[in-house]
Amino acid sequence: MSDQLIQIEHLRKSFGGNEVLKGIDLTISRGDAIAIIGQSGCGKSVLLKHLIRLLKPDEGTVTFDGQDIATADSRWLREMRYRVGVLFQSAALFDSMSVAENVGLGLKESREYSPKQIAEKVAEKLDLVGLGSATNKYPSELSGGMRKRVGLARAIATDPEVLLYDEPTTGLDPITSDMINDLIVDLRDKLNVTSIAVTHDMVSAYKIADRIVMLYDGVVQFDGTPKDAQTTDDPIVQQFINGRAIGPIQVR
């Protein structure tokens, strides 16, 4: 089993004439904890969506465990998606379903578990995110932070090897953000997952990642440890991680 899990080569993607990704090269190894940082609209979420083929590359390839995912058949794709959990930016809970149904949906639709097994797994995952008592609530009754935690419980329901986080702390107060960060670190340590988080929250990035990748103008501008990021003399990275309005990065 190779150590490399995901390989992205020369990935390009445009939307209606606007080229967002202009040739991304990135290799992700098993056990990595990566934070992908960059300005809003720089294509971080677009990159994340390519990893599970919610979007297909215009050019270039994304390889997961040795398989080019653009050409994979639907069976392989389904199995791959079971191995990957995603926490969406807005949590993306199904509003017609209760918390427990949301968390258990993937298990139920896989048709591999009995209702009792599903209930047990759902309870276990909800306990893990500290929401054991919210099983029968509906998403509309939850706060933003609680929704994110339910989204996290849903993402880990199938015991994935890889977790993708799209802006896990955006829109949350600092205390809730920190709680989510703790959960992410906890999951990484307890479940030994590979985690890839897209964020522009540097506090969160330092806490949850041991590798920082910065996207700028559609390419990888920086790839290194959090320490390297803090000490690099790249003015673009420095401007971003220190949050300064003045510098080489133009605010769009």
Binding site: I52, V84, A92, L93, F94, G106
Partner: protein
């Protein structure tokens, strides 16, 4: 001039893209039919939401369809001097062949087609469809299949009700407003009634229901840009479905009702 041409060109491209997209949605739906056994619960749920819940509306409009048809037919009969005993035949035919299927379909497009697009469009812009896909669940099987199956099955079912209720509305107006007895009206209706007309009306309704479901799902899946995008998609779903209903209805007339 250039501007007008450019805008015309863009509209042309959009039209082709939409036609292709709707066709592609049909293909994906047909490919998902093999998954019906795994989606029975979802289909039953949609049959209730789409079909049973539409019944009060269909019944209400049908009473008035029958009522106005009798009134207007009597008005025309008066001018051309046609005997009022033929009222039941004329109105009965019109209801069974055209009025019940087509008007029910247009109302169904407004209620169910718009509802499907608004729901799926909201799911699209709030990433719920992405979430389904990321969990290895096919949104076509989970969302499109149950809705399109339900609307295809339930519109004919609703049209059966619409036929009965419209004739009832017709009887009421003919007795109360035109002074034609219910026996005369219903005898006329019975004389002209033809089972193949009735069946053809239901076949049309099934096709209309299918088109409404497919267009509703297509527009919802392709909604973008927040609340405004969902609103636009919903409007578009009703417009496109209504046009398709009326165009295909004319094709049906040429095919099924030979002069």
């Amino acid at each position: 001039m250039n501007h007008a041409l450019e805008s015309l060109g863009r509209r042309g491209v959009n039209f082709v893209a939409k036609t292709g997209g709707i066709f592609f949605m049909m293909v994906k739906f047909i490919a998902s039919l093999k998954d019906i056994p795994f989606s029975l619960r979802l289909i039953v749920e949609q049959i209730y939401l789409v079909g049973v819940r539409s019944l009060p509306l269909i019944i209400t409009i049908s009473i008035f369809i029958g009522a106005v048809s009798v009134w207007q037919a009597a008005y025309q009969f008066k001018f051309i001097g046609a005997p009022l005993r033929l009222l039941g035949q004329a109105v009965g035919k019109a209801v069974v062949i055209e009025l019940a299927p087509v008007l029910s379909a247009l109302v169904f497009a407004g209620r169910v087609g718009a509802g499907i697009t608004a729901e799926l469009g909201t799911m699209r812009v709030t990433e719920q469809i992405d979430a389904l896909e990321s969990m290895g669940i096919s949104p076509i099987r989970y969302l499109v299949l149950p809705r399109v199956v339900a609307s295809t099955l339930m519109l004919p079912f609703l049209v059966i009700f619409a036929n009965f209720v419209a004739i009832l509305g017709g009887v009421i107006v003919s007795v109360a407003g035109v002074a034609v007895s219910s026996e005369t009206f219903l005898n006329g209706f019975r004389d002209s009634f033809n089972l193949s007309d009735f069946n053809n009306g239901l076949i049309k309704a099934a096709v209309f229901g299918f088109l409404i479901g497919i267009v509703g799902c297509y527009e919802g899946f392709n909604a973008g840009g927040g609340a405004q995008g969902v609103g636009k998609a919903t409007t578009s779903a009703v417009v496109v479905a209504s046009v398709l209903i009326l165009v295909s209805n004319f094709v049906f007339a040429l095919m099924l009702f030979r002069i």
